[in-house]
Amino acid sequence: MNWAVLTPLLVFLVIIFLIGFWSNRKMAKADGFLGDYFLGSREFGGLVLAMTMVATYGSASSFLGGPGAAYSIGFGWVLLAMTQVATGYFTLLVLGKKFAIVARKYKAVTLIDFLKARYKSTPVVLLSAISIIIFLFSAMAAQWVGGAYLIQSLTGLSYIGALFIFTLSVLVYVTIGGFRAVVMTDTIQGIVMFFGTMILLVAVIVAGGGVSTIIADLVTINPNLITPFGQDGQLTSAYISSYWILVGVGVVALPQVAVRAMSYKNAKAMHKAIIIGTIVVGFIMLGMHLIGVFARPVLPGIEVADQVIPLVALEVLPAWVAGIILAAPLAAIMSTVDSLLLLVSSAVVKDVYINYVKPDASRNHVMKVSMAVTAVIGAIAFVLAISPPDLLIFLNLFAFGGLEAAFIWPLVLGLYWKFANKYGAVASMITGIGSYIGIHFYNQAYGDLLGVHTVTVPVFLSLIAFVLFSLMFKQEAYEFPSTTIKKEA
């Protein structure tokens, strides 16, 4: 074991635990358990809001898979990754103030609460809960595997041992601390990611002998590495551009992102978060993917994409600095997992259990059930991650795109179109998920339809279905409730 690398990592884990305990004590004083456990009482300021969005969104793929792809594909993958800058401002501006105001009127604490209040339809709630439970659970379990691999490569423990440590650390602080613990640790993790990226980028450029030398070396290896089209010229402009939907604007519809768009204190916090979020997400995406490309001449011949960043960090930095830097991908994985874990358990507890099984549950009962469900889901993820079934990998492949195709129009049109109704929402969700699965198989068999990413066509089809069915079963124009009337009169 390499203690110089491990010590900073352990310190990091201990800090995370302390935050979990602190949050738990603070929660004991809050009024509503559900609102605080799942939403942290809507009191987050700008920095915390920006960091929690970045940390939740920046997952294993931003720190391990993405730079690994940039290593073999070249600058084309950097270009593709930069579509994600939009997530910094687009989500908060588009869901924006309307979502924040309406969520407060509805007293909504999750995306499903909003859909339930807006459409007043059991099928919409159940469809949403099922999509969240299936897709997010798979996305989460796959991160579980990534986290375990990372710990394994750092400690030399067995895979099962690494998985056990990972599961235990995540479960302890999510179960105990809830949403507040998650966003507080997200903030620290976001800061670690930001500075980790900065230090590693500088170190790689220095190790490679400056940008010009690195680029010249890249051209010697393969001139295609410095074009936008990939090492074999396999990327088309249409394909790269379709990532604007998958990881740029479509991110609005991810439940783990949307829930954060209702958790902030006031407009000032939101404004600050838009600026900080854009800077941080853009810098991390640009930096990490450039590191991936620059690593190619510095450390040629890495075969497993996920190992590029850990190996390069160990190569170009002193061991103890590498330990701190490698806390960044671990932070990214943990902060994604914790949010997803919380969302899946909120879908089970709030949206299914309290809605349909036991509506009159007491605060104490809800608290026990929430913690128990969170722990059970974590344990199931652990068991599945021991030897990941093919189905899990398969579901994870389209977890993000599937959720976007399902939720984007019920959420966005529900907010901004007064004729949006439950018929449109149900039709849109079924069309979105159905066509996503269909096109996924088509693309696997025959190559990408229209040369774009799988998510593109379903997003347009579900829009058409939404508008068509809303107009076909047209209802009166919807008006958001005005709870102020009583007080003003």
Partner: protein, 97 residues
């Protein structure tokens, strides 16, 4: 009375959502234009800025900085502060007006 106030908050929200779409369009055009405008020729003909191929320098690095500046300008000068809670609505609205 109450209804008008609510509508005015929504009006601001709708405007800002459209601004978000506008920013995304500017971002896409800048990103696409420089990347494929400068990057589509064979790599031997590339020009370089600070060691980077010009297309990635303009599209990704400058493009990112431009977006940060645009977003900051929009946030500072265009976005309006509105109250989210119903109770202290009146007081805050006066402040932001």
């Amino acid at each position: 009375m109450a209804k008008n106030k609510q509508d005015s908050r929504f009006k601001i929200a709708h405007r800002e959502a459209l601004i978000g779409c506008g920013l995304a369009i500017v971002n896409i055009v800048w990103w696409y234009g420089f990347a494929f405008g400068l990057g589509s020729k064979p790599p031997e003909e590339y020009s370089y800025i600070f060691g980077f191929p010009a297309w990635i320098f303009w599209s990704c690095i400058v493009g990112f900085l431009v977006m940060v500046v645009l977003v900051a300008i929009v946030v500072k000068f265009v976005l309006k502060e509105v109250p989210f809670e119903e109770e202290n609505g009146k007081k805050d609205e006066v402040n932001s007006a």
